[in-house]
């Protein structure tokens, strides 16, 4: 149990590649932080720096009130769960979990107690004498978790621990990991590129892009107030619609296809901008009026519980996931963009306006 702090942390690999720069992050005790971002943005690098597997080239990492930059992984009181589990193939499940404690010189009796406790917690008691080879993916995953738990770490580190599991098991393990982390009240840092995992598990989401932090916030903040088009498009499925628009003054926005709407945003500067709206925030209107926009339906994706409509406003594609039913026979649809659900971004750097 401890806090984790990154102060201006950066990483330049020996080949000169700057993978991370200027990372400032404050993780509270017992908090579950999820790092998300597209492939190659530096999530694993950041996690491995906290673990002590990669050197910190600039800045500091603090666990509790110790600066750990130069500590080796074993003395940082962290535990890590790897994507491919990284269980020792030649050791039994019991020994896999006990190995770290043995190296610390923990008494045998205590090792047994802790391993049995963790095994019970995870429901893997009957596999203790087996080798990892004789376990399914989900069971291996649990063993990897067990190996982390027995060490009673200050911080849990997870690097995409669920990405090798099938969808059903993944959603089950997601809940289990979260429950376990609450129960043990251990600070956790979790890397994923799956935004559903990020949204459902996190206390705090850190969105990374190209080696820098794009936004830090609770899942709600990230979802409802994305700081940039990058975050807006990355979180949410289907992603947020972004329309090229022009502010012509007084809150009047002209949209593709000669459409116009008026919004209550007098602060916007005149000129080009991007208007964002989430597919589920778009309302379908019963009949045409001055406040509605006409769109052409191009494709309907049937999801069972609902639909996803791929439509066009003028020449710009708009995706809608309607909350209400609609007439599937129609080729055209009248939609309404609720004022409160609109997001505006600068057309240049994509920052929120």
């Amino acid at each position: 149990m401890a806090t984790l702090k990154l102060i201006n942390a950066g990483k330049t690999y020996p080949n000169g590649f700057e993978a991370l720069s200027n990372i400032n992050l404050d993780v509270k005790d017992g908090e579950f932080t999820v790092l998300v971002g597209p492939s190659g943005c530096g999530k694993s690098t950041l996690l491995r720096m906290v673990a002590g597997l990669e050197e910190v080239t600039t800045g500091d990492i603090m666990i509790g009130d110790r600066i750990v930059n130069n500590l080796d992984p074993a003395s940082r009181k962290i535990a890590m769960v790897f994507q491919n589990y990284a269980l020792y193939p030649h050791m039994t499940v019991y020994n896999n979990m006990a190995y770290g404690l043995k190296n610390l010189g923990t008494p045998k009796e205590e090792i047994r107690e802790r391993v049995n406790y963790a095994a019970k917690l995870l429901g893997i008691e009957e596999y203790l004498p087996r080798r990892p080879r004789q376990l399914s993916g989900g069971q291996r995953q649990r063993v990897a978790m067990g190996r982390a738990i027995v060490r009673k770490p200050d911080i849990f580190l997870f690097d995409e621990p669920l990405s090798n599991l099938d969808a059903k098991l993944r959603s089950q393990m997601r809940i289990e990991i979260r429950k376990l982390q609450r129960e043990l009240a251990v600070t956790a840092m979790y890397v994923t590129h799956d935004q559903v995992e990020a949204m459902t598990m996190a206390d705090t989401i850190v969105v990374l892009s190209d080696g820098h932090i794009e936004q830090i916030g609770t899942p709600k903040q990230i979802y409802h107030h994305p700081n940039s088009t990058f975050v807006a498009e990355f979180i949410g499925s289907p992603p947020m619609n972004l329309l090229k628009a022009t502010h012509t003054g007084n809150g009047t926005i002209s949209l593709p296809g000669d459409n116009k709407i008026t919004v209550d945003r007098k602060d916007l500067a005149d000129g080009e901008l991007l208007l964002g709206i989430r597919p589920e925030d778009i309302e379908i209107a019963a009949k045409k009026s001055a406040k509605t926009l006409g769109v052409d339906i191009e494709l309907v994706e049937e999801l069972g519980a609902g639909n996803i409509l791929h439509t066009k406003l003028g020449t710009s594609p708009i995706v809608i996931s309607p909350r209400t039913g609609f007439d599937t026979e129609k080729q055209q649809l009248e939609i309404k963009l609720p004022d409160a659900k609109l997001h505006f971004f600068a057309s240049g750097d994509g920052k929120r306006l």
């Binding site: 002590g52 992984p73 074993a74 890590m80 491919n84 990284a86 020792y88 193939p89 030649h90 190995y99």
Partner: protein
């Protein structure tokens, strides 16, 4: 389909059986010869069935040896061969495990240079460097000694190279997990690397044991005293006795006995050996 498959099976087995016969027949003849009195072999009418002299022949050769061939008792030569072969196999494996460990897991200056220098010595087997090696061994006063028999043959580029490849197939995450688990380099080597290379070590042990057992030129050069003679040298000496007819029954008995230790090593390690050569999953 089924018919042709069956034909294929029969054909395959027939070929295999013929192969086995071709290999085993000379050994059988050697065994038969070793159980007859010496004259039988020379008369050219060797039967294909064992004679009644087995116990006499074997106990003579094992206990007393052949005086005229100035060969020491066979058990001495067997023991010498065993010590040499074991020494070479274990020494080679130990040294190459360590050097592969250094090359793969440690970042030091001239690491790749070291690797390539080791690799280049592949081109210099014992026979090529035999004169300088002899010189060095003699200067160190190792003629007629077990270290003299073993040490010069220990350095092994092949084994180093093989272990390097094996270590490189071990996932990095495993190394990292063990670092987090607090295993230092020595612990990592013994707790993780060695067990994971177990089958490769076994396979290499078999190959190297036989390599050591079959050494001829080097022991011939380096030993002049009978008590350091190895079995392979012994056979050769028995065949080339001056002014006398070779005692073929004794030679054959020696050959049969010389086969047993390598055979034992192969059989006892067969399972690991095969896995070591074929297994890819780590």
């Amino acid at each position: 389909m089924a018919g042709s498959n069956r034909l294929l099976t029969i054909l395959a087995h027939a070929i295999l059986i013929i192969g086995v016969i071709v290999v085993l027949f000379p050994i059988w003849v050697a065994f038969v010869a070793s159980t007859h009195p010496g004259e039988t072999f020379l008369s050219g009418e060797l039967s294909l069935w064992p004679g009644n002299q087995m116990i006499e022949n074997y106990s003579l050769i094992l206990g007393k040896g052949m005086k005229i061939a100035s060969a020491p008792p066979l058990w001495v030569m067997l023991l010498n061969s065993l010590i040499m072969a074991m020494g070479i196999a274990i020494g080679k494996i130990f040294i190459s495990l360590l050097s592969a460990f250094a090359i793969v897991y440690f970042n030091f200056r001239f690491r790749m240079t070291a690797f390539w220098m080791i690799f280049i010595t592949l081109m210099l087997p014992v026979e090529v460097r035999i004169l300088p090696t002899y010189e060095v061994t003699a200067n160190l006063g190792l003629l007629n000694s077990y270290p003299g028999l073993i040490l010069p043959l220990i350095a092994s580029a092949t084994a180093t190279f093989l272990f390097r490849q094996v270590f490189m197939t071990i996932p990095d995450e495993l190394t990292e997990a063990s670092r987090i688990d607090g295993a230092g380099p020595i612990k990592f080597f013994f707790d993780i690397l060695m067990p994971l290379s177990r089958t490769n070590i076994a396979a290499l042990f078999v190959i190297l044991f036989i390599y050591g057992w079959n050494q001829y030129l080097w022991p011939l050069l380096i030993t002049t005293e009978d008590r350091y003679a190895t079995i392979v040298m012994g056979i050769k000496r028995m065949v080339e006795v001056a002014d006398s007819i070779p005692q073929w029954h004794m030679v054959m008995a020696t050959a049969i006995l010389a086969l047993i230790p390598p055979l034992f090593v192969v059989i006892s390690m067969q399972k690991l050996f095969v896995r070591g050569l074929t297994e890819t999953e780590k």
